[in-house]
Amino acid sequence: MVTQYGFFFNAAACSGCKACQVACKDRNDLEPGVLWRRVYEVTGGGWEKKGDVWVPSVVSYNVSMACNHCEKPVCGLACPVKAITKREDGIVFVDTGACIGCRYCEWACPYTALRFDARTNTVSKCNFCYDAIDAGGTPACVAACPQRALDFGDMSELRKKYGDVRQIFPLPDPAQTEPGLIIKPHRDAARAAERGAEVANWEEV
């Protein structure tokens, strides 16, 4: 029995095509501007001098991120009306019928997974395509990825398969929430912070 669902993201394989983002929007019929899964384009560096030669020191990679259905969901702990709950299999839900729209959870989540939906006047977020999962299917984002850069499953299985890396730049310290997330880092990720990398597409995410 699954006790904690999670996502695997292979940053080394992601091309930044945003098929995952679009598949999520399509499946969940999200309003324009509401993104349950987002692809961050991380870029930095430039040129650096090595001896007499200038060489490029560019870092560039993508990070596909949705709600990580954390083991310690700080959004739910912060919610004053208990509108955010966790299922037995680890999937974290927002009950839009209980949400008062205070939007405090948007600040509490370090992955900025909670998004305000003007249609319902409540917050909303990735629900792991729970109806598809319950029917033995796959989350829309995972199914849509042409590079197979996304996977899902029980965290213990994902750890066995992919290791235990849960943070690359610019993700927050995983100790904050214990996210259901495993990452295969891009080779540039280790040098991103020292080379002043930043998210280049804030207006899209």
Binding site: P80, V81, W202
Partner: protein, 290 residues
């Protein structure tokens, strides 16, 4: 940033209310039990607590404006176990109810008994916890620019400054004695001096746009640096006018009604600086998609 005006108004009104209550509290609790207060003292207490109650009711009312489903707000106490927001609302309601009870006791002349002192003590504790939970709920690891120690200090200073100044303003009536009012303005002087030092030396490190102490998926702040300098200018202006007012012994207006014009202007400038500072604070943590 401007969308957060209900939170700006709520926090400032709530902190002013708590500050006014807490600054009057030691004077009252030290008065000997068993002796009734003079009518002048009673009038002063009624005015200050009336203002406190009015402000906390206004704060509560304004807080509804940041809810998108205000009719579901009755459930906000459902998560006292883990949510600082629930706790903040709980202590606000407790503070409001206890101030109302204390007001009722004083208005009906029950000023000599131990019961009033017990109610005052409970109100002070509720006010402090309201303040602590207000600061604690913004101490979020997920918002790196919000430094917990800086928030606590900043909220405490707003409470002290606006509480002291607002109390001095409303008790600047013919029944208000000059030494008591002078003490309030002097306290305001030191609190504002402290706030200025922090605004000059600490805020540029922790509270100005561009501060990114840790990797984050939160978009960078889009608030103008001019807000910081505007806030600093208003606070410095308020400080200078306060000094002038104190030097001119402007504690009570010439006609005996209310405070003198200089100190009223000083309060206006300091209040404006606190409002600007609070907008800056919320502007440091933009919500994605906004």
């Amino acid at each position: 940033m401007l969308k957060e005006w209900p939170l700006v108004a709520f926090t400032i009104a709530g902190q002013t209310a708590v500050g006014a209550f807490l600054l009057l509290f030691p004077l009252l609790v030290l008065s000997p039990a068993g002796t009734a207060w003079s009518s002048a003292a009673r009038a002063k207490v009624l005015v200050v607590w009336g203002m406190t109650f009015g402000l906390v009711v206004i704060a509560a009312g304004l807080s509804f404006f940041h809810l998108h489903h205000p009719f579901r707000a009755h459930r906000t106490l459902a998560n006292l176990r883990t949510s600082w927001l629930s706790r903040e609302i709980f202590f606000e309601i407790a503070f409001m109810a206890l101030v109302a009870l204390a007001l009722l006791l004083v208005a009906t002349g029950h000023t000599s008994g131990l019961f009033l002192r017990a109610v005052m003590g409970a109100t002070a504790v509720a006010g402090l916890l309201f303040l602590v939970s207000m600061a604690r709920l913004y101490a979020l690891e997920s918002v790196p620019p919000w430094d917990p120690a800086y928030i606590g200090l900043s909220f405490f200073l707003t409470t002290a400054i606006l509480g002291a100044m607002a109390m001095a303003l409303v008790t600047g009536s013919p029944s208000g004695d000059r030494s008591y009012l002078s003490a309030l303005w002097t306290a305001s002087f030191f609190f504002i001096a402290g706030d200025l030092l922090i605004a000059v030396f600490v805020t540029p490190v922790y509270g100005v746009v561009g501060y990114r102490p840790a990797p984050s998926l939160r978009p960078p702040a889009r608030v103008s640096r001019l807000l910081y300098f505007g806030r600093l200018g208003l606070l410095a202006g308020g400080f200078v006018v306060l000094i002038k007012g104190m030097a001119a012994n402007d504690v009570i207006a010439a006609g005996g009604r209310g405070p003198g014009p200089l100190l009223s202007v000083a309060f206006g400038l300091v209040l404006a600086s606190e409002v600007a500072g609070r907008f800056l604070f919320y502007g440091l943590a933009p919500r994605p998609g906004d």
